[in-house]
């Protein structure tokens, strides 16, 4: 079964002080995962960014697995990030423009990780800018058939976010597959699905929003 999971974190609205308190971050990451920060520290990435990077990876992994395991509970410390790789010479930059999209991450400065959830092994690709973190999770290391997009929006109310991300994704799918009339619906278990004439299309999508930012990922066969 095709699946994808994504998450976006707006670093503009996180509580930096609280994130740096053990009482907070130890509800997201374990002592073992805390050691992974040594991979990011030399690149000048603040600890709070590291915490929210791991959050976004874990949330994406949860969304990926939820499609095949609808009763799965999101318990951040049970989603274990085992490896975290930073590209050589990585420098954190500003998010330029209003939106960006891509297929795969070959041309991006991407942070890669491996996530273990029980007997499942998953892979993530994350983009980190000064303003935001986006993660996408896949079942293998190959993101060649993974589409993704990030967009800044004007409002943060849930209805606006929901409409904005759906319109953003449908526009991309129309351009990519030249199919009109696509609708983003919801499965009985609550995850997003793409419908064409009320029939589920053969791709898997994931939507996320935080503050005035939205992001999607999709996986096609």
């Amino acid at each position: 079964m095709l699946s994808t999971g994504n998450d976006i974190v707006s670093l503009n609205v996180i509580n930096k002080t609280r994130t740096n308190q053990p009482g907070f971050y130890l509800k997201i990451l374990s002592d073992i995962e805390k050691i992974l920060y040594r991979e990011l520290e030399p690149a000048g990435i603040p600890f709070e960014n590291f915490v929210w990077l791991l959050w976004s990876i874990k949330e994406s992994a949860y969304k990926y697995l939820q499609r095949t395991k609808p009763s799965l509970v999101f318990s951040p410390t049970k989603f274990v990030v085992e490896q975290l790789q930073l590209p050589f010479g990585y420098n954190i930059t500003n998010f330029e423009g209003i939106e960006t999209e891509g297929t795969g991450f070959d041309n991006e400065a991407v942070l890669k990780s491996v996530i273990i959830v029980g007997s499942d092994k998953l892979y993530s690709s994350s983009l980190m800018y000064r303003e935001l973190i986006v993660s996408v999770v896949n079942g293998n290391e190959d993101f060649e058939n993974t589409g993704w997009g990030i967009k800044l929006i004007n409002k943060s109310d849930p209805e606006y976010q929901s409409n904005a991300i759906r319109a953003f994704l449908v526009d991309r799918l129309n351009r990519l597959f030249h199919v009109d009339g696509l609708i983003i619906g919801k499965s009985t278990h609550g995850f997003p699905i793409v419908l064409k004439d009320n029939v589920e299309a053969g791709l898997s999508v994931s939507l996320s929003h935080h503050d005035q930012m939205v992001a999607y990922s999709f996986q096609f066969g």
Binding site: F74, S75, H210
Partner: protein, 89 residues
């Protein structure tokens, strides 16, 4: 504390994180934090920390996993308060 007392206090805990202020006044056990109150999942840890601080309790991982709707939040807080009272006796 009764369930109603905890419910009324929980409304104050949820308030900074929900955009659905109207629903906040009429929440019940079945109200889902993400789906109904539109609380962003990134704020769920904030809610657990705020509840810990408000009631001077510690909410462990297993208990936190259950806090997906208002009723389960009240159950967890009552359980932790009861444990605390037993420890003090």
């Amino acid at each position: 504390m009764t369930r109603t007392e905890i419910l009324n206090e929980l409304k104050k805990v949820f308030a900074p994180y929900t955009t659905n202020k109207e629903l906040l006044n009429s929440i019940n056990d079945d109200t889902d934090l993400i789906r109904d109150l539109k609380i962003n999942s990134a704020n769920l840890v904030d809610i657990i920390i705020d509840a810990e601080n408000k009631y001077n309790i510690e909410i462990d991982f297993d208990a936190a996993d259950k806090m997906i709707n208002v009723g389960s939040c009240i159950d967890v807080i009552r359980e932790k308060l009861n444990q605390k009272n037993v420890e003090y006796r």
